[in-house]
Symmetry: C2
């Protein structure tokens, strides 16, 4: 790039600063100083180096940009406005209810693949995109802009490690080292060598630059893609750069300038500022689009009634069957693939499987990244370990991501490994995620059908699988609609309705048999879909049994099946007696634990008798 070009980029950078200040001052809130430090970097990226079609942010071979330091949203918005996607006058609507230019970016905006704002999450998503580029034989690069304080987040290092291990030389991280965090200076200030040594140790190529020297920025960006390592550009910057009275001063994080301050700041920036109108943006390469065509159907299943198959094992088989038909399916696991059975998919489709090692937060981020590129990602680990990734899952909800989270080893029924490995809070956690679907198949047929449905339908799905073997109880042509439930046992003289799922469905059926022998009939429902709950089916059954139901779940008392049923149906006068694990469990044999924690068939029988009186 020649001096004239450098001058243009410098001018655009100052224009981006002006936009950021004007917008946050108009909004009365926001993070202008965090925008100012990164403005030169963003200018060089958006108007000199990234190859993209500004009118078509979703184009499949655009270079990708993730603003991991999501509070610098005004800067991102300014860049896309200057690139011509929408009028710059819209920028003044920042943070207004009627504008999609929110406080932190969300995919309501076409240029934000994922929501950011919870720090440390962007790099993992970038790893997913970079891996996907490789899978799809595309040459887009993925740029992730992080803050320095943000690098305290462990999620950053999980992502860094995986990127280094998989030699993702199409991934570029840029660290805006402006030395000032929210409430004080960061731990390392401007000691950029600390970041350099860390990323180097994690397998990255590193470049250190003055983040306000556009020649240096241009030079390093021109050399991306060299070698076989991911690249990190560590940019020494000043928070509030360009405005003398706020530059590099603590106490300005998240503070908009007053009207008067804004006038003074813009007076400083204006002389060197210019719009990006007319500046050519490099186009993306023309490469064939990846095959992300959903199949017309999936191959059939053929299970035999009565065969004993753990739902975790059926998941492994389903993933292969569905993956074979559906080129969009990819799988990820966190060193549990021999327990979750995702190893079956890995053996058949190694290029579509990503071993994420023992790093669940990152696994979810990487999967989210794949999902933004049109893939259908299935992640698997123990259900309880998704609690490690709850923030990533929560934000995936805001990102309206396409994610299929499969959690095995649910409940006390895992047995001797004990509570640290048991999923006892996962239904609760996943119910609270925006837009999620929570599925809990009882047998292999249900599992297979749900995996199919998950692949075929966009959204965040959570599938609970169990460790013990359970008999096949459904025919191969059974369907499992969302928002429904299955009445698996019913007669005209039922005294009460018992609702179970997974292992407790079998306990409920055992109880039903024993009670029947005593002349007490009960309705038994399989609540295979906990969210959206099959409330019409449940209500109808309950209304035939004195408006009373018993729920029984291999999960804690709070937030799971019982709360879901009571939460939705108390308004109809349905009384919900909740059976669940009500104390911290202990190691022991599965059957012992189901008994001790009061969720086995004997406990159900006692409860039925106690309730019907």
């Amino acid at each position: 790039m020649n001096d004239n070009d450098i001058g243009i980029l410098k001018g655009i950078a100052n224009q981006l600063r002006i936009h950021s200040i004007e917008a946050t001052t108009a909004a009365g809130s926001g993070h202008p100083t965090s925008c100012c430090s990164a403005a030169d970097l963003v200018s060089a990226l958006f108007f000199g180096h990234m190859r993209y079609d500004p009118k078509n942010p979703h184009f499949y071979n655009n270079d990708r940009f993730i603003l991991s330091k999501g509070h610098a949203a005004p800067l991102l918005y300014a860049a896309w406005a200057e690139a011509g996607l929408f009028p710059t006058s819209d920028l003044l609507k920042l943070r207004q209810l009627g504008s999609d230019l929110e406080g932190h970016p969300t995919p309501r905006l076409p240029f934000a693949d994922v929501a950011t704002g919870s720090l440390g999450q962007g790099l993992g998503v970038g790893v997913g995109m970079a891996l996907c580029a490789r899978l799809d034989k595309l040459d887009y690069r993925t740029y992730v802009l992080l803050g320095d304080g943000e690098c305290a987040e462990g999620a950053v290092w999980e992502a860094a490690s995986l990127a280094g291990t998989y030699k993702l030389n199409n991934l570029i991280a840029i660290i805006d080292v402006n030395r000032l965090g929210q409430s004080q200076a960061t731990a390392f200030g401007h000691h950029v060598e600390v970041y350099q040594e860390r990323f180097k140790a994690f397998g990255w190529r590193t470049e250190e630059i003055d983040g306000h020297d556009l020649e240096e920025i241009d030079e390093v960006l021109a050399a991306v893609g060299l070698g076989d390592q991911p690249l990190v550009i560590i940019a020494r910057t000043l928070k509030g750069a360009g405005v003398s009275f706020i530059q590099d001063k603590d106490g300005w994080h998240g503070k908009p300038l007053s009207q008067e301050e804004a006038v003074r700041a813009i007076a400083e920036l204006q002389p060197g500022a210019r719009s990006a109108a007319g500046v050519p943006i490099p186009a993306p390469t023309a490469l064939p689009a990846p095959n992300n065509q959903a199949p017309a159907s999936y191959p059939p299943i053929s299970y035999k009634l009565g065969d004993a198959i753990a739902t975790r094992e059926a998941f492994g088989a389903a993933l292969v069957r569905v993956g074979e038909a559906d080129p969009r399916v990819v799988a990820l696991d966190g060193d549990t693939k021999n327990s979750t059975y995702s190893d079956k998919f890995m053996k058949k489709f190694p290029e579509r499987f990503t071993e994420c090692f023992i790093a669940e937060q990152n696994m979810v981020g990487v999967a989210t990244g794949f999902g933004t590129r049109g893939k259908v990602p299935f992640t698997s680990t123990f259900a309880t370990f998704y609690s490690r990734a709850f923030d990533q899952i929560r934000v995936a909800g805001i990102s309206m991501a396409n994610l299929k989270l499969v959690g095995s080893h649910v409940g006390v029924s895992i047995g001797e490994d004990g509570p640290s490995q048991m999923g006892l809070e996962d239904i609760s956690m996943m119910r609270s995620v925006a837009g999620s679907v929570v599925l809990y198949p009882a047998d292999a047929v249900a599992t297979e059908k749900m995996v199919e449905f998950m692949a075929a339908n966009r959204g965040i799905f959570f599938l609970r699988t169990s460790r013990p073997k359970t008999p096949v109880i459904y025919n191969n042509d059974e369907t499992f609609p969302l928002g429904s439930a299955k009445v698996v046992r019913q007669s005209a003289t039922d005294r009460i309705t018992v609702i179970g799922a997974g292992v407790t469905l079998y306990e409920a059926l055992k109880a039903a048999d024993a009670l029947k022998a005593e002349g007490i009939n009960i309705t038994v429902i399989d609540a295979y879909c906990i969210k959206p709950l099959g409330k019409d089916v449940i209500r109808a059954a309950a209304q035939k049994t004195n408006n009373t139901v018993i729920t029984v779940e291999d999960h804690y008392l709070e937030g799971g099946l019982g709360d879901a049923v009571a939460g939705e149906l108390s308004v109809d006068g349905i009384r919900v007696h909740k059976m669940a694990v009500t104390e911290l469990p202990h190691s022991g044999k599965p059957d012992e634990l189901l008994a001790k924690y009061g969720i086995n068939s004997d406990a159900i029988i006692r409860k039925v008798k106690a309730v019907i009186g």
Copy 2:
């Protein structure tokens, strides 16, 4: 140490291997190979270098040991049995329901300060203990044994960074680099230099050793405490070491030996094995016990009714007031102290405040560590960011930890920052934690009283604080018992009961005033304690209003206040109409958002009228 001593340690190591194999074979499950790789390290620590009283595991100046790779539990149990705490014959009860020697260690055992088994969490707890030693002017060292695969967890690097930053030279990490994970080899195999470079970059002194050479182990352990950095001992080991047919072979993770295999293995180990009986264990230093005396009372508060104070600000004041009287109180924050107001405590008691930077998982781990040492740790950050630390919080439940988690910026009422910053799932998350208490004060008085209660009572507490200012409505002598609720508005002609908390309590009171003017009276309840729920108070009120209540919360629909009330009271025929945030929120002014998401006074008025018909 001389050759004889080394020989003794080698013999004990083999005895520990024998115990691990016998126990897991008897149990039919467990991780013997993971125990074998670390046996020499554990032998040297427990019988040569750690200074502790084996009959008194809780002694305040014992060196601490955390088995972060918790699946090697049998090895830990064997060490303490050999140290004389309980008979070695007990070891064969591993994983049985009637024995506290569970699949992974829990503090039911006096020598396990925290539960481990969810990998990557031990080092953060160790950081907390090491910081506490410094605060208490004690010289105990904290040893944390990690696996190599475990080092993929970001939580390890959060802890490593903080330890390096605070130069915790009383913290020693030991990495058992046995190269084999659960489902495959780790990313780096036996390339110990990878771990060395990483820890070095994070500010640690590093030593690389042969993890089966007891001379080398002895040498590095003799030199702990040198310099001003934390020490990591990177030990190259073999999984299954000592047993020729399983040593360094993939496919043996988490597999017990069969009876026949165990016989063969023990035949290999027996000749070199010896018990630790009679081997002297270094005693801890005699230093004065720290002052962990709970105060008799706390100083009084003096707020004026009607004053507008945000509960987050009242928290800041309460922490200082309570901290002044209570020497056990320590505070931690994740670079949000100017927003959470924990900075007030920091300024008064800097030696009792730990800035954890933007690393919430680690903040919770560090706090847990402080709690094990008799401190009362208060953590603060935005409520939603605790989702980043949910696994650590979940495990703290298993650890029966003493933790006070304060989450600010709850709900849509934070306004323009948008959904990534809003706590909308935190009540749900915290309700599901074993043994937790969930508190939601409406005003400054309630906040202060709750902070006092939290400090005075052991357990895991979560306190929700809000961003907007709200008027003081309670007198300074008001009390807020657990498991209760406050009826703040009631008359003999109430048509329905409306239950709110935090900002929605004020919306409910506003609605009550407006409805009263129209001749419709309602009961209003402040559900300041969501878990344990004030169900008796709520039931009693509901029974006077046609068994019908409306709940309204600044939180999602799932798992929060509404589900808590319905979940507990549907059995009494109470109908619960839930008002909550039912869609992904957008940025906007607080009042706009309360209106848009249907939880303000206008919405409550409409709902009341719709329900009473």
